[in-house]
C-alpha cells in the first residue's frame, strides 16, 4: 500500500504541486471474516495496542473495531498532559516507560504529535504535603525518572503569576518533573492509526461490538453491528465503556463510570509555560500551542455515561483556578466537555487476562489514560502476543482487589470518586 512519508521536504514538494499527492492517512477497509487478533476500541490505547502488536510483536491479521470514529473516546477529550510522577512501585515504572516511549514517539510514528516536555509542577501548600511529595519525588528518581523539589522562590521565578500574596492555602513550594508536558491528543490517535494502518492493521470504524462468541470457555470471535468476526484473541480497550462491554462477556469489574469535565479558553498569547497542578483545590492547567488554556479538575462524582457534567463542578474548577492565578479572570471559557472515565476501585488501571481464555482486558484508567497511551498499548500488545504481562505492568492484575494488592496512590480506598 502507498504511504505518504511525512517531512518538511515532502510538505514543500506537495505545496508546489497543489497538495495533490497526499494520500489517506488510513484506509476504510471492510471487516474481514477472520482475524488473529481483534482489538475492541479505536481510541488511543486500542490503536497503540494494534500498532505495537504489528510493529514490535510481529503479529499480522489484526483488526481494530471502533463503534464511532477513530479517536472518538477519551483520547480526543482530555487535557493532554503526559507525566510520570507517581509514587508507588506498581505505577511509577510503568508511567516512566510510557514517558520514554513518548520521547521517541514522533520519530517512531513519522507523525508530529507535538510532544512538548515543558514540565509539570505540583504545588505544595503544607509541610505534610512537602513530605509526601518528597517521598514521591524520590520514588520518581529511584525509578529512573526526573524530579526537582522547588522552593517558593524557585516558583516565583518559574511561574510569577501565581497568587503568592494572600492565598487561603499559601504556596510553599512544588514538585517538578521537567520531562513531563503535553502532547496533541488527536495527533496521538491519528499517528498510531496511520502507523497501524501502514503495517496492515484493519481499522474498522462505525463497527460496534454487540457480543462475544466463545467455545469451551475460550474466545472465538465477536458479534458486531457489521456482522460476526472470528478472532483467535480479543483485546478490550474501551475505557469509559469498560463496564458495558465486559458485561457482554458476563464479567463484572471493580470499576465505576464517571464523568470528567475539561475546559479550554479562547486563544491567548503564551502566558503559562508548562503544566501546573494546584495542590489545595483540584485544578490543573496548561496552554496549548494554539494558545487556549486547557484545564480541568475533579470528576463530577456520580456515576455517569452521559459525556457531560454539571455547573457546580465547572464553578468549582474555575474558582480554584482563579484562586491560584487570578490573572486568568479576563480569559474566557470557550468550550467545556465531558468524558466518561473508568474509575477503578484503587485509582490504578488493569491490564490483564480475564476468566475467558483469549479475552484480554485493558481499562480502569481513571483520570490518567492519556499519558499512559504508549505504554498501555505496548504492555497490552505484549500480554496479548506473549500471554505474559509486560514487566512494567505486572501489578495491574484484575485479582489484586480480592488478594489485597491494591495500588492506591491517594490512599482513598474503594471509593472511586475519591481517586
Amino acid at each position: 500500500m502507498r504511504v505518504s512519508k511525512f517531512s518538511g521536504f515532502r510538505l514543500v514538494r506537495e505545496a508546489l504541486r497543489g497538495h495533490r499527492g497526499w494520500t489517506p492517512l488510513w484506509r476504510n477497509p471492510e471487516p474481514q471474516p477472520t482475524y488473529d487478533i481483534v482489538i475492541v476500541g479505536g481510541g488511543g490505547h486500542g490503536l497503540a495496542t494494534a500498532y505495537y502488536l504489528a510493529k514490535v510483536f510481529g503479529q499480522t491479521r489484526i483488526a481494530v473495531l471502533e463503534k464511532g470514529w477513530l479517536g472518538s473516546g477519551n483520547v480526543g477529550r482530555n487535557t493532554t498532559i503526559i507525566r510520570s510522577n507517581y509514587l508507588l512501585p506498581g505505577n511509577q515504572p510503568f508511567y516512566e516507560f510510557s514517558m520514554k516511549l513518548w520521547e521517541n514517539l514522533e520519530q517512531d510514528l513519522n507523525f508530529n504529535a507535538m510532544v512538548s516536555q515543558r514540565g509539570i509542577i505540583n504545588l505544595i501548600h503544607s509541610d505534610a504535603q512537602r513530605d509526601a511529595y518528597r517521598r514521591r519525588g524520590n520514588a520518581m528518581l529511584l525509578s529512573g525518572a526526573d524530579a526537582r523539589l522547588l522552593s517558593r522562590e524557585d516558583l516565583r521565578d518559574l511561574v510569577p503569576f501565581l497568587n503568592y500574596d494572600d492565598a487561603r492555602f499559601p504556596i510553599r513550594g512544588g514538585l517538578m518533573q521537567p520531562r513531563a508536558g503535553t502532547a496533541r491528543h488527536d495527533g496521538v490517535a491519528w499517528g498510531y492509526a496511520r502507523g497501524a494502518d501502514a503495517l496492515g492493521v484493519d481499522l474498522v470504524q462505525n463497527c460496534e461490538v454487540t457480543g462475544f462468541r466463545t467455545r469451551d470457555g475460550r474466545i472465538c470471535g465477536v458479534e458486531t453491528s457489521r456482522g460476526p468476526i472470528d478472532a483467535g484473541k480479543v483485546g478490550i480497550a474501551v475505557a469509559g465503556s469498560s463496564g458495558r462491554v465486559m458485561a457482554l462477556a458476563g464479567l463484572r469489574l471493580p470499576i465505576e463510570s464517571h464523568v470528567l469535565q475539561a475546559f479550554v479558553t479562547e486563544g491567548l498569547k503564551p502566558v503559562i509555560p508548562g503544566v501546573l497542578t494546584f495542590g489545595a483545590g483540584h485544578f490543573y492547567i496548561s496552554q496549548s500551542d494554539k494558545g487556549g488554556l486547557v484545564f480541568g479538575g475533579d470528576i463530577d462524582g456520580y456515576n455517569s455515561y452521559a459525556q457531560r457534567g454539571n455547573l457546580p463542578v465547572v464553578e468549582d474548577v474555575v474558582e480554584s483556578g482563579m484562586a491560584l492565578m487570578p490573572m486568568i479572570g479576563r480569559a474566557r471559557l470557550l468550550r467545556s466537555w465531558g468524558g466518561v472515565v473508568d474509575m477503578s476501585m484503587d485509582g490504578s488501571p488493569i491490564i490483564d487476562r480475564t476468566p475467558v481464555d483469549g479475552l484480554y482486558f485493558n481499562g480502569g484508567w481513571c483520570y490518567g489514560g492519556f499519558k499512559a497511551t504508549p505504554a498501555s498499548g505496548y504492555a497490552f500488545a505484549h500480554l496479548i502476543a506473549t500471554g505474559r504481562p509486560h514487566a512494567s505492568a505486572a501489578a495491574y492484575r484484575l485479582d489484586r482487589f480480592a488478594r489485597g494488592h491494591v495500588i492506591d496512590e491517594r490512599g482513598a480506598g474503594a471509593q472511586p470518586n475519591l481517586h
Binding site: 469489574l253 463510570s257 456520580y302 476501585m345
Partner: protein, 94 residues
C-alpha cells in the same frame, strides 16, 4: 442537578455527597463462613449500569439523611428517591 428529597422536595445536588451503588446497603455478615469472598464482592464489584442505577446520596448540607436515588446514568433523569432507612427496613426485614 436536583435531588427529589422524599421529605424536603427537590434540592440542589450540591447539598449532597455521593457514595454510589445502593448494593452497599447489603453488607455481608463479617462473622459468616466465606465472609472474605462476600466482602470482596461487596466492597469492589459495584453495579455500574449504563441506564437505571440505584445509588446512595448523603444529604450532608441538609437533614443528614442517606437517600437511595434511582437515576439513569445515560440521561441523568431521576426516577425516584427514598430514605435509605426505609429501603433497608423494607428489603431486609428483621
Amino acid at each position: 442537578m436536583l435531588i427529589p428529597h422524599p421529605l424536603l422536595g427537590p434540592r440542589d445536588a450540591q447539598e449532597f455527597t455521593y457514595l454510589g451503588d445502593a448494593r452497599l446497603l447489603a453488607r455481608p455478615d463479617g462473622m459468616a463462613e466465606g465472609a472474605e469472598a462476600a466482602f470482596y464482592d461487596y466492597v469492589y464489584l459495584r453495579n455500574n449500569p449504563a441506564g437505571v442505577h440505584r445509588e446512595l446520596w448523603f444529604h450532608e448540607h441538609g437533614d443528614r439523611s442517606w437517600l437511595v436515588v434511582t437515576r439513569d446514568t445515560l440521561t441523568h433523569d431521576i426516577l425516584g428517591a427514598e430514605l435509605a432507612t426505609d429501603v433497608v427496613r423494607r428489603e431486609r426485614p428483621r
